[in-house]
């Protein structure tokens, strides 16, 4: 393998290639405006994948590379920009480019015939570019920029069918919710900069780096250059977490994600699998050394709660994509919770496995939706082709979609021989081991996670059985065309255990997990044995129960008007609460300020204007009568004088003579007689 070993410079160049190629497809396709951007995009993303793989082979478990150049200088402050390649970033690079490539290929068939297809390819390119940049940047400032770009491109993609009102609303919602997280990120960024004076991740977070060597003495957080109360350390951690919460859709900022289902299914798949939602977990991984115990506890609680909440919501949803959306939120909760309990590697492991099986779930669901949509158009029927209540019996008509989706569902449910089994067990077992060291509410964490994983089994079982079992309503629906199904098969392979671990039943020897620092918990062998057995056993029972409930030809209708059902179906009424709390209050506030504007501000302005009018009327009168009067008076005086003098200038000789005579006589009279 010597020929695949490269120098540090070449590796950085390769990662730059992986970064720039998707961006070039964005630029080129938008310039060409050809209806066909597929070839360019797929070529570029393939190059990106190959470069990422080469970098991965060289960097994984062997070195950490950081190269940077000076970016800009303000006064004496110099900000650098560069590339940081370590296990985390190269893994993400491969994940992002691989999933993107598969989604790209899938999209050729899925998006066929869309009139704005070139924009779709261009936005996908921008999306991959931003995600790649986010992953390989070595500076928090750069990450922040790419973070914003991810938000921007997700906005473009979610709102791709912008003529649909729901889609443009969903895009706006996603964008605005993400702004909240951006604000958190920015706050964290500012605290970090004021404390350490640099954005360089290498210098900040390496072992023995700035964050590591900053000490806490007497309630003060002391770095080389600054000293602030220790609360700022907690605030910085929480601020970064808020950033991660929005991108990774954690409670209470998760509501944008189910709505984002309005985008094309391939986009949902990309957003949910490896890119956008992974960005939050990735950010937590990047700034991990910053979190103190309060921040970590918050992260754990939020993660566990989100996992549980989203799973309960997913139980009763009827839109196939919404179920998957809530399952993504739930799985992200698992990852975040794993981060919170210190299971850093397990979290990234779950991120990687989840990327594949969630991508598969979405693409398989997409193929079902695609086929039903065509069926609907072909027979000019009117029904909701995403509603699982209207599906059924597709098992025989769409065998490939059925098999692949079963594999993905098994992985999501954490059944043995799948990748999900490995990573979910890793998180569950680590959480049990972690909880051993604590008392109180922390004891609850592993049990809630286990309960959530059982709920997961139930709702994904419900989805599978409702869609693929029972009686078929649609005659003549076939599997999606080969270009789509082949992607499903590839992903199905990646969702099984061999890619991640040789031993299908134990995650301990997984190569991926060994690439990261192990969680700092005392291992208890008993958990390694008991947890998988109990969890899997009960999961199997739950699968059977859900088959009984939903799998039969004559499906029993569960009561659908209970309080809990409605609570779950309406997604815990969170959208309603947000609507009341924020949207309504802001609307009310804006109405009040509008009133204030019209009544007081306008009134003030109008009365000022009235006053000015009165004053100007006075001035006008003064001008007209006094100033003009003076001028006119002088003018008329001159005119009168002139007229008077004119009388003497008759042009007649004798008149002049009389005048002269008069003057002379007058003169004499005055001189001699008076």
């Amino acid at each position: 393998m010597d020929f695949l070993t490269f120098s540090a410079n070449t590796l950085c160049l390769l990662s730059l290639i992986a970064l720039v190629f998707p961006f070039s497809s964005f630029l080129v396709i938008l310039q060409l405006k050809k209806s066909q951007g597929a070839t360019i995009s797929i070529f570029n993303i393939s190059v990106s994948l190959i470069a990422s793989l080469l970098v991965f082979i060289n960097v994984w478990n062997s070195t950490t590379l950081q190269q940077q150049v000076e970016w800009f200088q303000v006064g004496t402050v110099s900000i650098s920009a560069g590339i940081l390649l370590n296990n985390l970033s190269v893994l993400m690079m491969v994940l992002v480019s691989a999933i993107s490539l598969l989604v790209h290929i899938y999209s050729i068939s899925y998006m066929k015939g869309d009139e704005n297809i070139y924009k779709y390819w261009a936005y996908l390119g921008l999306f991959c570019f931003s995600m790649m940049g986010l992953v390989i940047s070595d500076s928090l400032l750069l990450i922040y920029m790419f973070w914003e770009l991810v938000g921007m491109s997700s906005y473009l993609l979610i709102g791709f069918w912008f003529t649909k009102d729901a889609a443009s609303q969903a895009a706006k919602k996603a964008f605005i919710m993400n702004r909240i997280g951006d604000l958190g990120f920015l706050t964290g960024l500012m605290i970090i900069y004021s404390q350490f004076g640099t954005f360089d991740i290498g210098r900040l977070f390496n072992v023995g780096g700035l964050v590591d060597s900053a000490s806490i003495i007497n309630g003060f957080w002391i770095s080389e250059s600054a000293s602030v109360p220790v609360i700022w350390l907690t605030i910085a951690g929480l601020a970064f977490f808020i950033g991660a919460m929005t991108k990774s859709a954690q409670f209470p900022l998760h509501t944008w994600l189910p709505d984002a289902m309005q985008g094309p299914t391939s986009v949902s798949s990309l957003i949910h699998a490896a890119t956008m939602v992974a960005a939050g977990v990735f950010l937590l991984g990047r700034v991990y050394p910053l979190f103190d115990s309060i921040a970590l506890n918050t992260i754990t609680v939020v993660g566990v709660f989100t996992a549980f909440m989203a799973a309960t919501i997913a139980l009763t949803q009827n839109d196939i994509k919404r179920i998957l959306a809530y399952s993504t939120i739930s799985q992200l909760g698992f990852m975040i919770a794993a981060m919170g309990i210190g299971a850093y590697g397990e979290s990234i492991f779950h991120l990687a496995t989840h990327a594949f099986f969630k991508c598969l779930l979405f693409l398989a669901a997409g193929s079902v939706i695609h086929q039903l949509h065509h069926y609907k158009e072909h027979h000019s029927l009117e029904f909701n082709h995403q509603d699982i209540r209207l599906m059924g019996g597709l098992r025989k008509q769409m065998p490939i979609a059925f098999i692949t989706m079963c594999i993905a569902a098994a992985a999501l449910a954490g059944l043995p021989f799948t990748s999900g089994f490995l990573s979910k067990d890793a998180i569950l077992i680590t959480s049990f081991e972690w909880a051993e060291g604590y008392h109180g509410f922390k004891k609850l964490v592993p049990f809630v996670l286990v309960l959530t994983s059982w709920l997961t089994v139930f709702y994904i079982g419900r989805l599978i059985f409702k869609v693929f079992f029972g009686k078929s309503n649609y005659k003549g629906v076939k599997d999606a065309p080969w270009p789509m199904t082949r992607i499903l098969l590839i992903l199905a392979f990646f969702s099984l255990f061999p890619l991640f671990s040789v031993n299908p039943l134990s995650y301990d020897n997984s190569w991926l997990l060994q690439g990261f620092v192990p969680a700092g918990v005392k291992p208890f062998d008993i958990f390694h044995l008991l947890v998988p057995i109990i969890v899997t056993g009960i999961s199997a029972i739950i699968v059977l129960i859900s088959y009984k409930l939903y799998g039969g030809t004559a499906t029993k209708q569960l009561p659908e008007n209970g309080l809990l059902y409605r609570f779950s179906n309406r997604a815990w009424y969170l959208d309603r609460v947000y609507d009341l709390l924020f949207v309504r209050s802001i609307t009310a506030l804006s109405i009040i300020s509008h009133k204030f504007d019209t009544l007081i501000v306008d009134g003030l302005v109008n009365s000022l204007a009235g006053l000015a009018r009165i004053i100007s009327d006075i001035i006008h009168w003064f001008d007209r009568h006094v100033v003009d009067g003076l001028v006119n008076g002088i003018a008329s005086l001159a005119s009168k004088t002139g007229d008077f003098a004119r009388q003497f200038q008759t042009g007649k000789l004798q008149h002049y003579l009389i005048t002269m005579l008069t003057l002379v006589v007058t003169f004499f009279i005055i001189t001699y007689l008076i």
């Binding site: 200038q649 008759t650 042009g651 007649k652 000789l653 004798q654 002049y656 003579l657 009389i658 005579l661």
Partner: protein, 101 residues
């Protein structure tokens, strides 16, 4: 002997008659005659005053000069009147008001 004041009165009367003629007449020739009246009033004054200068006869001398000058003046004035008549076809001074325009 006739006192000086009589001459003065006659002279003044002559002057006034001439002045009146100058101011009122509608004919340039008559105006010219008025002017002659006024000149002669002045000459009469000179001659009358000459009584007090018998040795040098200054008054008489001035009277002679004045008569000559008046004759020259009348000649010129008549020439002007002739030209005015040629130009305006009238010698009525009321009609000749080009000074005004």
């Amino acid at each position: 002997m006739i006192p000086l004041s009589h001459f003065m009165i006659i002279s003044a009367a002559l002057f006034c008659i001439g002045l009146f003629a100058v101011l009122t007449k509608r004919n340039a020739i008559q105006i010219l005659i008025g002017i002659e009246f006024m000149i002669n009033a002045a000459i009469l004054n000179f001659v009358a005053a000459g009584r007090f200068d018998r040795v040098a006869g200054g008054g008489q001398m001035f009277a002679l000069f004045a008569i000559v000058l008046a004759a020259a003046g009348v000649a010129v004035a008549l020439a002007i009147i002739l030209n005015v008549y040629k130009h305006f076809r009238t010698i009525n001074p009321d009609k000749i008001d080009t000074l005004k325009n």
